[in-house]
Amino acid sequence: MNSGGNDISFLVTISIAVMLLVVAGFLLVVMMNQRKKWFLQKEMSGLKEHQQNQLIEAAVRSEESERHRIAEMLHDEVGALLSSSRIFLVEMNTEKLTEDDKQDHAKVKEMIDESIQKVRTISHNLHSTILKEFGLNEAIRHFMKKITGGTVVNSTVELDDEYQISNAETDLAVYRIIQELVNNLIKHAHPRLINIRSSLGQNQLQLQIQHNGEGLTQDQFEELRFKPSGLGLKNIQNRIILLKGNILFTQLDTGKYTIQLTIPVII
């Protein structure tokens, strides 16, 4: 082996070592930089999500306070006016009236009674006192009885009574979701039978709505909730996000549809 050959061998060895160090250092710097960027990005998306949740929460709160205000106004002002009108109408002397006028008087009284009932129902729907006083299970039972009573829709409600009020806001959001879903079912799916079931697991409330109408699949739900007309579904999704829960629409082999709600709760 000559000295020229030795020099080249030495040069190649040194070059390989230097290249190895440079590449390793370079890759390390690139990886560290990328990881830093990635973590920053994760942090940013976390902040963005937090901000979005805050916006949703504010929207839901303002919607609830507006419902409360309208319910109060209906109950205290319109309800009171109608009740006063009814008193005047009842106290009216009808003896001198003709038979036709007597019939009209009775009809007006009947209509005022119906109006008082309707205002009360709307007011209760907007702000459920049952939910506040007796909790979620009783509010759902009452709501189902009211909405399906006197219709062709049969409903069964099997709720886990171990569930007590965990958080008033959670209960209100769950109640609103159930309300919106059942209203949608009756309006669009035309079911003959609706069954609501709940079970309390480990820090989790599972609610299942099963029906035999023309329901939605998960894909249809995802598609509809982004449409301007799907405001109700959007509200449902917003409340689900706020509760950090999950909603799943499925069609069973039997042809029935289920809507499964999973809500984390603190017992």
């Binding site: 082996m1 000559n2 020229g4 050959g5 030795n6 080249i8 061998s9 040069l11 190649v12 070059s15 390989i16 290249m19 190895l20 440079v22 590449v23 370079f26 890759l27 690139v30 990886m31 930089n33 990328q34 990881r35 960027k37 990635w38 990005q41």
Partner: protein
């Protein structure tokens, strides 16, 4: 090359950049297999059939057929397929670089083999070195692009990141070997064999990283 090809068949990735890489792996596997089969009469019964079928492979001064053309062709194909790979990664970013580099590389190859080197007789050190330098340039451009990209993801989960890291390692470490390989063969045969082991190790690392990049 069988390792990444096996992983490709298992995971069947669908990304746009997979095609040039798989084509490269198949061609490289065939070229290396043929080169190994005729290497120093490794399989003597093939000597005459190959010599009859491809008389241009016979080098009179070696009194045997040469497999060096396969290494040279491998280098040209690797360069072209990896420029395609980079183009598939980001057509907008690599289009201009391809327009500049590919004509330069093709021009260099034609001039080199027409005037200075014989594609059949020896593995061409200059070709390998130029190929390594160009691919290294692509790798650096890739990392610069990655660094500029605001929408960066976790680099360890990025498939292309693994391939380009392997390619950077392979080309950077082998660049000095390729530059001096002609001199090493003449002056110090033992060292040239030893240093080729370094090349083989980096090539295995590259193939392992390609294999892992196929995983989703």
């Amino acid at each position: 090359m069988l390792i990444p090809l096996t992983f490709y068949l298992i995971w069947k990735p669908k990304d746009a950049w997979v095609k040039p890489v798989v084509i490269y792996l198949v061609i490289a596997f065939v070229l290396n297999l043929v080169a190994d089969m005729i290497w120093k009469k490794g399989l003597p019964f093939l000597e005459l059939p190959i010599r009859d079928a491809f008389p241009f492979l016979y080098v009179p001064q070696y009194t045997q057929i040469s497999n060096n053309i396969f290494y040279n062709v491998h280098s040209i194909i690797r360069m072209l397929l990896f420029t395609w790979f980079f183009y598939k990664l980001d057509p907008f970013f690599f289009k201009k670089l391809n327009l500049a580099v590919i004509p330069l590389f093709v021009g260099f190859t034609i001039i080199n083999f027409y005037f200075f080197a014989n594609i059949i007789v020896l593995p061409n050190s200059a070709l390998f070195a130029v190929e390594a330098a160009f691919l290294l340039l692509y790798c650096i451009v890739y990392f610069v692009r990655l660094n500029k990209d605001e929408r960066s993801t976790n680099p360890f989960s990025e498939s292309s990141f693994k391939i380009v890291s392997g390619l950077t390692l392979y080309n950077a470490i082998n660049l000095p070997i390729f530059i001096f390989y002609d001199y090493l063969i003449i002056s110090n045969d033992t060292y040239s064999e030893d240093v080729w082991t370094v090349h083989n190790i980096t090539y295995i690392v590259l193939n392992i990283l390609i294999a892992f990049s196929f995983k989703k």
